[in-house]
């Protein structure tokens, strides 16, 4: 973590909360949670509200599929923290072997054609946004992806193009696999608000 005030908390209440959660869970509170507690009056509420709606609200995609999309955006953006965090949640809803096959090469992974063509759309959007055309969206819809599903997937990718960037710019500490798993359980139970 590059900013000390985020590491320790910017208010007495936050500092106490960081200590209590870390003690009770037996693991260092992940930096993603420390950011959520920090400078609350700035963008936190707007970001959390959209994030919770996109990742846990009604959608044509399962929670596991949306978490897989988040992990894929993190993979394309080389964000180690976010790959670990969202892989750990995705494997609770999607077979771990399938999640790992997607991370290795989603084009050959055993997934549905609509999910595969959606990932093609999200990869272009993430790595070459200036190249994204209506034809990319049309390809997805012609494969059976509804407009609402594609909009939901694009929202997941937009948010994780934000999260991966601040995670790496702030140099989030990488938790252990056990810590990622504990955090995954909490994010499934409580969501992103």
């Amino acid at each position: 973590m590059r900013l000390a005030e985020i590491e320790r908390g910017d208010r007495l209440r936050t500092r106490a909360l960081i200590r209590i959660i870390s003690t009770v869970s037996g693991a260092r509170l992940p930096d993603a949670a420390r950011v959520a507690f920090y400078h609350k009056g700035y963008v936190g509420a707007a970001l959390a509200e959209w994030m919770h709606a996109v990742m846990r609200g009604p959608s044509g995609w399962t929670v596991g599929e949306r978490e897989l999309m988040a992990a894929m955006v993190a993979h394309w953006n080389s964000c180690t923290f976010c790959v670990g965090a969202h892989r750990a949640i995705a494997v609770r809803g999607v077979e771990p072997a399938i999640v790992d096959a997607c991370l290795a090469d989603y084009r050959t992974a055993p997934i549905s054609a609509p999910l595969r063509v959606t990932l093609i759309f999200l990869e272009t959007m993430t790595l070459r946004p200036d190249d994204l055309q209506a034809s990319h969206a049309q390809d997805a819809m012609d494969t059976g992806v509804s407009r609402a599903q594609l909009a939901d997937a694009a929202a997941v990718a937009s948010l994780f193009n934000i999260v991966t960037r601040y995670a790496d710019a702030l140099d989030f500490t990488i938790p252990t696999e056990t810590e990622f798993d504990k955090a995954a359980g909490m994010l499934l139970k409580r969501g992103y608000r």
Partner: protein, 110 residues
């Protein structure tokens, strides 16, 4: 409701929060960082180096990029605001591109 409109409202709210009165740094600096990371023209140093790196490859941001912006803003909160504004700019530029592509496509599936 149009599925794009639902997310667009959230995107607009996030953009307004990043650049609005709730920040401690000058709004003009946050707007510049957000716009730069969305593909805009170069901005003043040291903000330009950090915003550009966040846009192109955030995993290559260095301690020096952040320290320079921390010194320029005078606080951790100031540096945090610039990092968030740039990250949000890069993410929302992708939302804008996706929403436009989806909007211009037909809908064979629903």
């Amino acid at each position: 409701m149009n599925p794009i409109d639902l997310h667009q409202r959230h995107a607009d709210r996030l953009r307004a929060a990043a650049t609005g009165a709730s920040g401690q740094t000058a709004e003009s600096v946050r707007i510049a960082a957000l716009t730069r990371a969305a593909g805009g023209a170069p901005i003043d140093k040291p903000y330009d180096g950090l915003a550009q790196q966040i846009r192109d490859a955030a995993w290559r941001v260095t301690d020096a990029h952040v320290a320079a912006v921390r010194a320029a803003t005078g606080s951790d909160k100031g540096a945090f605001e610039i990092i968030m504004a740039a990250s949000i700019g890069a993410g929302l530029a992708r939302w804008d591109a996706a929403a436009r592509a989806i909007d211009e496509a037909g809908d064979a599936a629903s």
